[in-house]
Amino acid sequence: MADAEFSVSFAGPLVTFQDAGRPGNMRYGVSASGPMDRLAFDAAHAALGNTAGQTAVEISLGGLMLHCKEGAVTLAITGGDFVVEYAGHKTSSWTILTIRKGDRLAIRAGKAGSWAYLAFAGALQSKTWLDSQSTHSTSGFGGGALQAGQSLMVCEAAIRDDRLGEIPKPDFTHKGPTRVVIGPQDQCFAKNVLERFVSGEFRVTDAYDRMGMRLSGPELALDGALSIPSEPIVRGSVQVSGDGVPTVLLADHQTTGGYPKIATVISCDTDDLVQFRAGQTLRFSPISPQQAVHEARRYLVQKTQYLEQISVARGSLEQRLMRENLIHGCVYDE
């Protein structure tokens, strides 16, 4: 199979290479990184028929423009509701298309969502650090951020006509308030502050990147001591700084920190949360650790089913036309 080569005509800030991430290094100060929206990332690869966890491009609201210099490749774009323009056509994310030499592809912020994923039917090349090409955005280690003028290589680029078209969006994710387990430093907050946290409405501020999402809303005053001994942090930790402002820590979070964590977002609710944009509002709903584990298991079953469904090739255009003719034929026969 031949390779496909693109040049980056434009890349907004925080457009990065991401694979499934590098778990297991938090003890050395390295968060797992990987995609902000893991479901959309997995969907892009599943819909292309790729092996899970391959390297893709994560696209921020800043957008990305590519120019195909050599070869041709089928690619998937998922996540949020982004605008996709290619070779004179206009569509939106959750689509599979083929780009050929000379074509241009633009992906930019649309009606909703903060992160989109661009996956290729082939092996996207970038730098590896600690066995992963995921970009750790604060250090720049791993694949790195895309820059205008840079070239993108896709090795063993394939054309998969039987996969072109729209990708069904997931419809099984939790609707309603973002679910959290209270703690682990809830003892640092008075009872009425904890009540304010679960009853109040919070707004996403523009202090939002791969490290975390700062919120505005009811002040969450700390009870007494301002600092605790630095403690481990996870993706989803809601830490409250000395001025009572909460921040949800995300893919490239610091691994330890001395601000108390009032609650932690459960893992299956972080993918929806990261697609929020500045100005959007959200609420938190507390659940027990047992419920959280139950939800994680239920979510995995649903996610696995969904990914299996979208990974089935729908057939080439010709095959699909044939199928439609047969169906029409049946109708006439009756």
């Binding site: 003890r27 100060g29 387990v181 001994p229 481990p232 610091q254 650790p289 584990v293």
Partner: protein
């Protein structure tokens, strides 16, 4: 204090041994971290040692908070009382200009000569407390009393990787160019991010660290072969 167990979301448990930083609690954290690594129970993903507590992260599909707590309690019961002895690591340091912009300020604050500050730093009994903030940022305890200086009121920007910085009882060797409010007393050519895939980070939590003084010419010779990061 009896160990406290707190659930974190659906996928982790925080085991805490003290409310405030103390040596015994940290020694227990390190010992428990080792014990869990050896027993490697089903569903465990990783542990993160910190100052007074240990994060145990797990796969909620395989196990849950209560099962993990039971396994961790069993490990705690079997902990040997003797402290885990960390590996002795060596870090070279050059205290000469232009690598030590705050050496004179530290000396002035403490009423010492710069040579006395250097001797005091070399005399420190350093141990790796935990990593945090950034990849490879290892917080070392053990700066001697006579050169324990507070953080600066405002951080200084663009402090180069390899800078050796101190604040209070802690010392660290920076791994990235970034702002810091700590006092910069030297520069090290010893990579903390080793670039060696089988041992990518120089220290493990609990290791002991000795600084070894080198002159500018030696630094320049050594640093040529080193790319931080």
């Amino acid at each position: 204090m009896e160990p406290q167990f707190k659930a974190i979301a659906d996928h982790a448990l925080l085991v805490t041994f003290a409310d405030e930083i103390n040596e015994a609690a940290h020694a227990t954290v390190i010992a428990l971290d080792k014990a869990i690594a050896i027993s490697s129970p089903d569903g465990f993903i990783e542990t993160v040692p910190a100052l007074v507590n240990l994060l145990v992260s797990f796969d909620p599909i395989i196990t849950d908070h209560l099962l993990v707590e039971a396994r961790v309690r069993a490990c705690i019961q079997n902990l040997k009382t003797q402290k885990v002895v960390g590996v002795q690591r060596h870090v070279q340091i050059c205290y000469e200009a232009p690598f030590a912009p705050d050496l004179e300020a530290v000396a002035a604050m403490e009423g010492l000569s710069t040579d006395a500050v250097i001797r005091a730093h070399l005399d420190g009994d350093f141990q790796v407390l935990m990593y945090g903030f950034s990849p490879g940022y290892a917080y070392l305890s053990g700066v001697t009393q006579e050169i324990q200086v507070p953080r600066k009121p405002a951080p200084v920007r663009d402090v180069p990787a390899g800078s050796v910085v101190i604040a209070g009882s802690q010392c660290l060797v920076t791994t990235l160019t970034m702002p810091t409010g700590w006092s910069i007393i030297g520069r090290s050519p010893t990579p903390i991010l080793t670039g060696n895939p089988s041992h990518p980070f120089l220290f493990d939590v609990g290791d002991r660290v000795t600084f070894e003084r080198i002159d500018l010419a030696t630094f320049e010779r050594l640093d040529k072969g080193t790319a931080h990061g």
